[in-house]
Symmetry: C2
Subunit: 326 residues, 2 copies
């Protein structure tokens, strides 16, 4: 699929929307232990900046995860979100992520009329797609907007990926996400994959989203490439906060897009104040050679996260270790 | 110009060469005050890694710059380079950079037969091209390989740029560099510019190089884009060390290219040992929101470097200041 003509660098595309997942992907850095002040200021900054969606965290099952091990945004109880947003009298929509197999969605996801949540994002591996489809169906019936975030596709064969996408294209989901879980893709691959996703999904009127990781410092570049192909829902996090090497920097994305409704200043203010405060707590993420190596090897960053936690810098040994994993 | 067929992600292009400019662009971070051990280990690592060129620094005039204000790689005296490489019995070629107006090239650049230097890179602004052409002529007559690095082209009109490139295409230079001095370009712009450079330069058999900066975390992505268009001489620095936000990370580039002659391990070893030591001296570079803003505004990073030196984090004020500069 050729680049969409309206995707001009000097203009803007009104169909493009931004989702801030600082709390959700960033929560993987600090076990979701954000102060209420941080979360309130993030919400206010996103509202003022014209960000389209803000993800508060996961809707994890308390039968599986101990509430004492995590901050509240691992679970996103209705009253906790309302404690920040009240009834959310703003244009910002609220999303939560629901992992296949880790969410008691029938019990924990309320009807939309009883919730301030607007969108449920179902995260699934390729082999869990049938369950994901049931979860999407449940969310649609409860009245939500929906996305499905198909993870770790850099490890999936194209044949299986196409088959999975065909099933998702027949589901009730609104948006199918292209996800670069391991920061392994180069822009040329995003170009091909986004075209594949768009071709399959457009047959049934679905839109495509993109969620990148910064292992090879390509999260922003891959997001720009996805935009050129016609992807329209874009994930970012402030200061790139997210697991391991982190995500696409929301501030870069907001500055790149030229939609007049977006305003960079509130995000800059949040960076100066709240993000600087948060960094003092010792939360660490962002590019390192170790993440470059796991990205290169197309593998989960957990070995690099451990390497960083142990303050190791012996990259030669680490490269060997990563090759032994694969 | 369509992407070159041989530029396959799963293969390699033997025409592509890498130039390590850690000492030269990195020297702008610490006034070229590298220890001899650092420089020797860098040379050894580059030789073992199969890097094609290593740039030792600038050939600055001692009439203009005080030798007490800088380390020796600002001047690259012949005996200093020989102190590291001897007679350079390796496949690694040695380059130095010669700035228009800041180099006494007639006096300070020896005949190639009397030097271990293989390549002279002339750095020029658009209005200095006639002088650059004379300097290139001098270097060619002395027997050197040559490049011309046309700086700050993100501030030059396309009409002037084309006219300048036509002059350079008629000169004796081997390679014309596309340079993103301010880290202002997006990959889509690199695609267009690389095509323009290639079209003009190929008429007289010149090749094209690329030198990026990482202000918007796009140095690697822009380098990859340049590769796809047919650019064949690529600058990188270890750990991205370079002025402000730094450059394209040489280790990412080496890992991306699949030429069997390249070997990542010696670079990883250098990162673990020598770069970690150097960081302890307090030398600072790399992405920050302030560099993203100067990149966005297509302006010199010096205001952001000052902002970082003063440990400021008030990005909202800084954004205003950058807009006041422009």
């Amino acid at each position: 699929m050729a680049p969409i003509a309206s995707r001009s660098l000097m203009s803007y595309s009104p169909d493009i929307k931004i989702l801030d997942c600082t709390l959700r992907d960033g929560g993987l850095v600090n076990n979701f232990r954000f102060t209420d002040t941080f979360v309130k200021n993030l919400y206010k900054a996103n509202v003022k900046a014209g960000v389209d969606y803000m993800e508060f965290g996961y809707k994890a099952s308390k039968d599986i995860f101990d509430v004492n091990d995590f901050g509240k945004w691992k679970f996103c109880d209705e009253e906790d979100i309302r404690g920040i947003v009240g009834t959310n009298e703003s244009d910002l929509k609220i999303s939560v992520m629901s992992d296949v197999g880790r969410t008691d969605y029938k019990r924990d996801i309320l009807k939309r009329e009883d919730s301030v949540i607007d969108m449920i994002r179902t995260a699934t591996y390729i082999h869990q797609i049938p369950t994901a489809v049931e979860m999407i169906q449940d969310a649609v019936e409860k009245g939500y907007e929906t996305t499905v975030n198909l993870m770790a596709v850099s490890k999936v064969s194209e044949t299986d990926l196409k088959a999975g996408l065909e099933i998702l294209a027949q589901s009730d989901v609104d948006t199918i996400y292209l996800v670069d879980s391991f920061g392994a893709f180069y822009p040329e691959q995003i170009e091909r994959l986004a075209d594949m996703y768009l071709e399959i999904a457009s047959k049934t009127g679905k839109t495509i989203g993109f969620h990148g990781h910064n292992n090879q410092q390509l999260a922003f570049a891959n997001t720009i490439q996805a935009i050129r192909q016609g992807v329209s829902l874009l994930d970012g996090t402030i200061a790139g906060m997210g697991r391991g090497a982190g995500n696409c920097y929301l501030e870069s994305l907001l500055a790149f897009l030229k939609n007049p409704k977006y305003n960079l200043y509130p995000i800059l203010g949040f960076l100066s104040n709240d993000m600087e405060e948060l960094k003092k707590t010792g939360a660490k993420w962002g590019y390192d050679t170790s993440y470059m190596l796991t990205g290169l090897m197309n593998t989960h960053p957990k070995s690099a996260i451990k390497f960083m936690d142990e303050n190791r810098t012996d990259y030669t040994n680490f490269y060997q270790e990563v090759m032994d994993i694969e």
